[in-house]
Subunit: 290 residues, 2 copies
């Protein structure tokens, strides 16, 4: 899966076009859109989804939302699912506003406000069930789902998520139980539920336990590549089958040319294909345990 | 403190202007800006800060960021601090992008991208220290600070934040310790640090303990009014003085006219003044314990 996390300082197009017209925001947004389009075109055949890092678009200010819409449309045109990675989470009415923005929009006295139409949205569960369910309801209405942060890929994940609870499990294990509970009535024909979990690929030792606690949840696995995670260590994610794990790589795909040589699109495609083959190879060797 | 959480279905201006021109997004954004301007004008003399709920602006899509910039500028023109309430939180490079967007902007090969220039930003600490420090660094560079979620105002807060840890304290108490640690080198002449805490006014029983754990942290206290919190029960927040507590009310100020009668601006001003008087009265009766 392709993660699009377009840093304005690291775009493919930076040296190829002069970008002399417009404000810095307009020029940066145009470059980000051109970059994302090129990366999608190069890698789409080897991907099933695009994860859009909302922070990079928020930094584009007044041009950010339009860029996000443009890139999401480009992804859809290539047959890819769109994951809005914003890690939002807030009280009920606020969660509803975020959910409307990122998925199906909202009806207002001024007319219908369109949403981004994302298939999946990442959600931060620290505020509990009532901060999550508006996202789940909105995503389900459009046939999509949510991905809750459970055990993230960054070093600081240990600060809070790894704390041990009185009941004998860690905070992240308790979050995993919440994922399983919320998804229990959203299990589709594939056997996977519409409530998934974000589990950093940088801590593969947690994966078997995570799968034990969340047998039916799709796992979004960020952190492969630039953050140090290796796809070969993610076998437990694929126990429910190929669709059980979404291996997300951003910088390692986009910047593959820096290490592997070659032109950026070719190197990106090769790296995306390598990751896909590694993931599928894992899923084929797995004997489902339940 | 005024919370601006503009629901397009509950704007002061909805019945006063025809909004016939433009797309639904443009009309909604114009109405939100007009509404927010009117609320700020009515209540600014009784407030020190405006908390902008980013979700409501995100729902405005392509017109959202400009509306946010417009409303923030209006607040500043009235001498108010601007709090960007987005509850963001992500890995290091992503947190940096969000922080740049919400505070001082970023230099890029395309020129300087302006930030929102918020004085304070709310941050979700579930991902740990390295997801927080980029926000703190960016806010400090502009003379501002961060407000970490510690014990939120919604019922679901109990699901995760109230879980008891093996070490004998709850998750939220552990987050409070993190607030105190991160703020230890950011204590200003006022005696308050630049790392504050979001503590829901709906659970005042937690406040004394929160103040015990975070002696120098400013507390943002949402949940007064529509969510059921009462300012009279928040005394412990004000132990460090008047500035120790930021009592945030959104719907109860903006919709005061529905209960109290009168014109919306007059009723909002009266409610904002009532809340300020109640908060200051509390702070004057407090004898600081340290």
């Amino acid at each position: 899966m392709l993660g699009l996390d377009p840093d304005p300082r690291e775009l493919w197009v930076r040296d190829e076009q002069p970008f002399t017209a417009g404000t810095p925001v307009e020029r940066a947004a145009q470059a980000v859109c051109d970059h994302c389009r090129a990366v999608i075109e190069a890698t789409a055949p080897a991907c099933v989804a695009v994860k859009l890092q909302l922070a990079r678009f928020e930094l584009l200010g007044t041009a950010g939302w339009q860029a996000l819409v443009t890139v999401a449309a480009e992804a859809r045109a290539h047959g890819l699912l769109v994951i809005a990675d914003g890690k939002r989470g807030d009280i009920d009415v606020t969660a509803q506003a975020y959910a409307s923005a990122l998925t199906g929009g909202a009806d207002t006295p001024f007319g219908a406000l369109p949403g981004l139409g994302a298939d999946l949205v990442t959600v931060n569960p620290l505020m509990g069930r009532d901060a999550i369910t508006p996202f789940l309801a909105a995503a389900r209405a459009g046939g999509g789902g949510v991905l809750l942060l459970v055990r993230t890929s960054n070093p600081g994940a240990a600060d809070v998520q790894d704390l041990m609870l009185e009941e004998g499990v860690s905070v992240w294990e308790r979050l995993a139980v919440l994922v399983d509970e919320l998804g229990s009535d959203g299990v589709g024909e594939s056997g996977l539920s519409d409530v998934g979990a974000v589990i950093g690929a940088t801590a593969p030792s947690h994966l078997a336990r995570a799968r034990e606690l969340m047998a039916r949840a799709p796992f979004l696995l960020p952190g492969v590549g630039a953050q140090g995670g290796r796809v070969e260590e993610l076998r437990a994610a694929f126990e429910p089958g190929r669709a059980g794990g979404l291996v997300s790589a951003s910088r390692s795909i986009v910047n593959a040319y820096a290490g592997a040589g070659g032109d950026p699109p070719g190197a990106a495609r090769a790296e995306a294909e390598r990751l896909r083959a590694a993931a599928w190879s894992l899923s084929e060797r797995v004997v489902p345990v339940r």
